[in-house]
């Protein structure tokens, strides 16, 4: 007996995606698709506060409770405050819980400190109007009384003196007396940050100029790069402004709590451990898939589409242990991408290949605004719909994407071709469905069969190694939710 597929995350009007009306069929509507509840794959996942029958009230209550123990005495009536946010937080669960956490932080800070100037500065990646879209969707501009803006890596910068020399932040991020770092804990870009200083990373990315981001992705190396954010955070300039941090704590099933602290490294340790505990098993389970066709079907750029809280970029690298710091290079990072020559040959033999279990990718719905040609170069890719192909052809970051991808008229035709050419009927859909995975029946059978051994291996063999590599007290494992 197979479950019905879960409702995929809805398509979204955005300048970075095709008109939702052109997405006439979702992967979950295909024949032979089913869903696997996360609880059947990973029995020890904690309960979630969102989505739940309590709705956003649960997020507000958790945020208020977490902020109770936070010292805000440094913020007094006449001081200005920037709540620093990131686009990533708006991409899970429709952005509703993250937006509610931001609203609650504003309310609590305003009441407790009497500060009148509490602004929202929302950082972003490469789609420079993306957070503007989220601000509008969630009514945050009105909520912050006209003081909510998106900040882009090409906006006015400010030099910050650090242990790594001069790095560059965004002027608008730091144009207040105090900053509040409001983020989320899901492992997301574990291929980049390797779950090292996960909670600190936005100081080197969302709140940073392009010079700093390029330092992270080009200058320092795949693991050492994580020190860039720490260097900025520990600079006297930032320390003088830092008030506290508040994090929406995520698991593959949804938001599980809110954590807040004046000590960012305390949150960092908890999110590092929690991230490995909650996501280590599902990502390792992805690595235990022997073969599949992937369907991209979510309103985000190619590497960021979600399945059970895990982004596609993690599936691309799931053939190695992304949490194991003894592996210098994941199969996909921007460092790895630069280490192939123009013929697709690795410059040195130890470059790990893209996950060979991905036999084909059907790009039903995913956005532009992120250089994604690597994915089409390394895996057979079929794009659905001429409108989507045209969007990619005009994107300055994806001028070569369609040179490596085939075009199909519709999803069914794309899947027929994928089934025929790959010989597999295992299908995995990255569509943001909540609480489980939308997959084909054959892949559901496979996942349920291999999950117990993956759970055992992560808990008994891998987790102890991951903790030692990060100098983290194993006792924390019992303390995190």
């Amino acid at each position: 007996m197979y479950n019905q597929p879960l409702e995929p995350a809805p398509t979204k009007e955005s300048q970075y995606g095709v008109d939702p009306a052109t997405v006439t069929m979702r992967g979950a509507e295909l024949e032979n698709m089913t869903s696997v509840p996360l609880g059947e794959l990973i029995p020890d996942l904690p309960g979630v506060i969102y989505p739940s029958d309590k709705g956003l009230a649960a997020v507000r209550a958790e945020t208020e409770a977490a902020l109770e123990s936070v010292d805000m005495s440094m913020i007094t009536e006449g001081k200005t405050v920037n709540i620093l946010a990131s686009h990533h937080g708006f991409t899970f669960l429709g952005g509703f819980p993250y937006a509610e956490m931001l609203r609650t932080i504003k309310d609590v800070v305003s009441v407790r400190t009497q500060a009148k100037q509490v602004r929202l500065r929302a950082g972003l990646g490469m789609r420079f109007r993306e957070t503007e879209e989220y601000i509008k969707t969630h009514g945050l501009d009105e909520y912050f009384e006209g003081k909510a803006i998106g900040i882009a890596p090409i906006d006015a910068g400010i030099p910050i003196e650090t242990e790594l020399g001069t790095l560059y932040g965004l002027k608008k991020a730091y144009d207040a007396d105090f900053i509040i770092h409001a983020h989320n804990s899901d492992v997301r870009e574990v291929h980049f940050h390797r779950q090292v200083d996960r909670a600190v990373k936005p100081f080197g990315m969302s709140y940073a100029r392009c010079e700093t981001r390029s330092t992270y992705h080009m200058n320092m190396g795949p693991r050492a790069a994580n020190f860039v954010a720490r260097a900025i955070f520990e600079s006297p300039f930032v320390q003088e402004k830092f008030a506290f941090a508040a994090f929406m704590i995520m698991s593959p099933a949804g938001a599980i709590t809110v954590d807040a602290d004046n000590d960012l490294y305390a949150i960092n340790d908890r999110t590092t451990v929690g991230g490995m505990k909650h996501y280590g098993k599902i990502i390792s389970l992805f690595g235990a898939i022997d073969e599949c066709i992937v369907i991209l079907d979510f309103p985000c750029p190619v590497p960021y589409v979600f399945a059970s809280g895990v982004i596609y970029a993690n599936m691309v690298g799931a053939n190695i242990d992304l949490f194991d710091l003894d592996n210098p290079l994941p199969p996909y990072t921007w460092y790895t991408e630069t280490f192939y020559n123009e013929h697709g040959k690795p410059l040195i033999p130890e470059i790990p290949p893209v996950n060979p279990a991905i036999k084909a990718v059907v790009h039903n719905y995913a956005w532009i605004g992120y250089p994604a040609v690597f994915f089409a170069e390394h895996t057979p890719t079929i794009v659905v719909g001429a409108a989507q192909a045209e969007l990619f052809n005009r994107d300055p970051m994806n001028l070569n994407y369609m040179k490596h991808a085939l075009l199909a008229d519709n999803l069914k035709a794309a899947m027929e071709f994928a089934y025929r050419t790959t010989g597999t009927d295992k299908v995995m859909i990255f569509d943001g469905a909540s609480g489980g995975l939308n997959v084909s029946r054959s892949l559901a059978d496979h996942l349920l069969k291999v999950a117990p051994e993956v759970n055992r291996r992560v808990g008994e063999d891998l987790m102890p190694k991951w903790l030692v590599q990060r100098d983290i007290d194993p006792g924390l494992l019992q303390q995190v939710a």
Partner: protein
């Protein structure tokens, strides 16, 4: 090499002359001048490389990226002595075949060739190769590292937000940091880079 397929076009009715477009352009293709007493935007299409910085940051949504007659920007590597290209790449600590720009697929050898051809500033390198004309973010330091390795000195355009400065590389991390924060694997990552830089060119 990049094929430019779209270029910026301004709606002068919506433009308020705030200069944001001028400040974010990586190649200084945008200037404002007074027309009938009001500041208006001039976009020099012979310079515009079709990134979307101005369109994305204009607060009035006054700029659109519109299709143009496609044209290529790039520097022919075979026009130059490859030994010189290799030497410059090595000095900048890149492999000649290493990808410099994810968006345009520009490789180190082409950036080196453009410098040998006379490009001596970040904006000139962008115009000569296309590097930095996609996302405009990630290859920022590759451009600045190459210019420094070639001994080129250049000035930021007054008022521009772009090209703030070169930052530290893996080879320059102080020993104290390497020792105190060993879990960041500084030495191992530097060794990885060295293996890349020293890999043979097929």
């Amino acid at each position: 090499m990049k094929t430019v397929k779209v270029q910026a076009q301004v709606d002068q009715e919506l433009c308020t002359g705030c200069r944001t477009c001028e400040k974010v352009c990586p190649v200084y293709a945008v200037e404002l001048e007074k027309q009938d007493g009001q500041l208006k935007v001039n976009i020099y299409l012979d310079i515009c490389v079709g990134c979307w910085n101005c369109e994305q940051r204009c607060p009035e949504h006054a700029i659109a990226m519109v299709p143009c007659e496609p044209f290529d920007i790039g520097t022919e590597v075979s026009d130059f002595d490859y030994a010189e290209i290799e030497a410059l790449c090595k000095k900048a600590r890149f492999h000649p075949k290493q990808l410099m720009c994810y968006c345009t697929a520009t490789r180190a050898e082409e950036v080196a060739a453009a410098i040998l051809a006379g490009a001596g500033s970040p904006d000139a390198l962008v115009r000569a190769t296309g590097v930095g004309s996609g996302c405009g973010i990630e290859c920022n330091q590759t451009i600045l590292r190459f210019l420094e390795a070639a001994g080129k000195s250049w000035q930021r355009k007054k008022g521009s937000y772009q090209w703030m400065g070169r930052t530290m590389t893996a080879w320059e991390v102080p020993q104290e940091i390497r020792t105190n924060f060993a879990s960041f694997r500084f030495d191992s990552d530097e060794e990885l880079f060295d293996r890349i830089v020293d890999a043979p060119v097929d």
